[in-house]
């Protein structure tokens, strides 16, 4: 068994121990492996709340250029619900390191255990063909607005403002 498998099993066990029942804040930090039920649990946890899901990849140049901007954005909007999904077949320590570097180390983060196939992609977003980065802006009523490619922070800010107006 290689090191990565060990890390994965360890992380998976940790994920099971922590469980999905914990409050959202308990899921911050420390990237975990996305399994078949993880994303549904994320959606359940944030049901009736605005949520931003940002999908990125460690081997995707534009994603890496963009990532620190999400770190800055999170500083500006510390209360926003942000979940990160790293979607390349990449080691967890490298994912965590990239997130720390982008000041996103404290954000809820998931990473795929192997290259995504049609089935695993559909569990996250049935209309996703695999391009990255990709950002899902999920309103409290469940309506999803998709941003393909690097996101314009002004657009995300407008969406966030609209969500706070809608929920007041």
């Amino acid at each position: 068994m290689n090191t990565r498998s060990l890390i994965r099993i360890w992380s998976l066990s940790l994920g099971i121990l922590l469980g999905a029942a914990l409050p959202a804040s308990a899921h911050a930090g420390s990237t975990r492996l996305l399994d078949t039920g993880s994303f549904a649990q994320v959606r359940t946890r944030y049901a009736h709340k605005p949520l931003i899901v940002h999908i990125w990849g460690l081997t995707c140049g534009p994603c890496l250029e963009e990532l620190p901007r999400w770190g800055e954005f999170k500083k500006q909007y510390p209360d926003m619900n942000l979940v990160l999904i790293q979607a390349d077949d990449a080691p967890l320590d490298a994912v965590r390191s990239a997130l720390e570097h982008a000041a996103l180390g404290g954000v809820e983060s998931w990473s795929v255990p192997s290259e995504l196939d049609e089935f695993s992609r559909a569990r996250i977003d049935p209309s996703w063909s695999g391009e990255m980065p990709r950002t899902l802006l999920i309103a409290a009523d469940g309506a999803v607005t998709t941003v393909r490619g690097v996101a314009d922070p002004a657009r995300i800010a407008r969406w966030l403002t609209l969500q706070s107006v809608n929920t007041k």
Binding site: M1, N2, R4, S5, G57, L58, T59, C60, G61, P62, C63, D88, D89, A90, P91, A94, S97, P113, S114, E115, L116, D117, E118, F119, A122, P126, S127, S129, G130, E131, M132, P133, R134, R148, G149, V150
Partner: protein, 422 residues
């Protein structure tokens, strides 16, 4: 460089075998042993198969040799392996691990190892491997002087295709009808140069090189085009003048990642790029989805590609009868609701076949259409492959007068599926 010892988990690999990260990788000893033939329907026994054997392969590339043997190159468990079949893929023998890189192996969605064999039995294998923590990659190449040698093909220790220190990925290679080897790849050297000069440049460059000795040595690397999507596979075919035709996802201003073809002049040098279609897919990101290209004997260039542009979304086909100057209006392929993609084109004489992948929520399907008049008229689509779990992208391959679908699936294992003659 780290060296570690691990026990191969592929059931064909002999025990006591040293796998290395990096370059100590000529595993010819494997070819000397004759393990039991692999079963046709070798199945993975777990969701995440981690061995290096064919049963765990996520990306498989076929090639026929002149003696009717089917050769496969595949990526599994962080390694690149080669084996051959004397019975059209029912069983494989002589499994050889050519290189093992663990998590540094490029196993991205659009990456496949490349394998080409010429009429004299020279073989060339190429693939991408990440070389640093910043995920810069290099293209490694390994050759066999004779795949028919009594002691096995003896693939050479993989070496870097280019001496340039910038990142290189997505090699595509083939022998032209004269036996010259052509290889093209995505190269970050011009992007790195722009950065040194304080400028930002998106994407990568499209590089190429020729070899007159079946990959032992290459003539100079040349940059054909400088605004190429950095994360999509390239497609390669040869025209009736035996010159390469490359289809690729370009970056047109500002961020339009649409398709183009590059043809080559008599001198063997690249001509200016020609746009296939104005899809207007404006995305500052990685589509991870490259095109396919083929040329029929009448010189018609056929292209198939995926886009989510503002002009159209889905899988499309177009043809050019004037050397790529103008392409026909894009024709939508497959069932858009089932997200068609991953096209593969195969030309034979004036016949052309197109196969692609769809997903209906429960099944991955491979569908096919064909034309016997160089793409003027097409058959109705039909299903030629179906599976209920993960599956590699389809590859169409010709052998003699027959055409086959080469396909690796999680449930069924490797399959070589003979297609009906149109």
């Amino acid at each position: 460089m780290t060296t570690h010892i691990s026990k191969p988990t592929g059931f064909l690999a002999p025990a006591g075998f040293v796998l290395c990260m990096g370059l100590c990788l000529n595993m010819t000893v494997l070819a000397q042993s004759e393990p039991a033939p692999m079963q046709h329907h070798a199945q993975a026994d777990s969701k995440h198969c981690t061995g290096t054997g064919l049963e765990c392969a996520t990306a498989v590339t076929p090639a026929f040799d002149a003696h009717n043997n089917l050769w496969l190159a595949w990526v599994a468990g962080g390694a690149v392996s080669v084996a051959h079949s004397i019975n059209l893929g029912r069983s494989f023998k002589g499994v050889t691990i050519v290189g093992s890189y663990g998590e540094l192996m490029d196993s991205g969605a659009d990456a496949k190892p490349q394998l080409a064999i010429d009429a004299r039995g020279h073989a060339v294998l190429a693939y991408g491997v990440f070389k640093d923590k910043a995920y810069n990659a290099e293209v490694l190449i390994s050759t066999s002087a004779s795949i028919w040698a009594k002691d096995g093909p003896a693939f050479t220790v993989p070496r870097s295709l280019s001496v340039d220190p910038a990142s290189q990925r997505f090699p595509t290679l083939a022998f032209n009808p004269d036996g010259r080897l052509f290889v093209t790849w995505l190269d970050k050297r011009t992007v790195a140069l722009a950065r040194q000069n304080g400028q930002t440049q998106a994407g990568a460059a499209l590089a190429y090189a020729w070899s007159d000795d079946a990959g032992k040595t290459f003539l100079a690397d040349t940059i054909a085009e400088d605004h190429t999507c950095e994360c999509c596979r390239l497609a390669l075919a040869f025209d009736p003048e035996r010159q390469p035709v490359i289809a690729y996802r370009a970056i047109f201003p500002e961020h339009e990642r649409d398709h183009a073809v590059i043809r080559f002049g008599e001198s063997g040098r690249a001509l200016p790029a020609q746009r296939v279609a104005e899809d207007h897919w404006d995305i500052d990101g990685c589509p991870h989805h490259g095109p396919s290209v083929a040329v029929t004997t009448d010189g018609t260039i056929h292209a198939a590609w995926f886009t989510e542009g503002s002009a159209r979304q889905g899988l499309f086909y177009a043809r050019s009868t004037d050397h790529g100057q103008r392409f026909s209006g894009p024709k939508a392929i497959g069932n858009m609701a089932q997200r068609p993609g991953r096209a593969t084109l195969l030309a034979s004489g004036d016949s052309i076949r197109l196969a692609w992948k769809e997903f209906d929520g429960k099944r991955v399907l491979i569908k096919e259409q064909h034309s016997t008049d160089a793409g003027q008229h097409w058959s109705n689509e039909r299903i030629i492959g179906e599976t209920h779990h993960a599956a590699d992208h389809p590859v169409l391959i010709a052998h003699g007068r027959e055409a086959y679908l080469s396909w690796m699936t999680h449930d069924e294992g490797y399959q070589l599926i003979k297609l009906q003659t149109p």
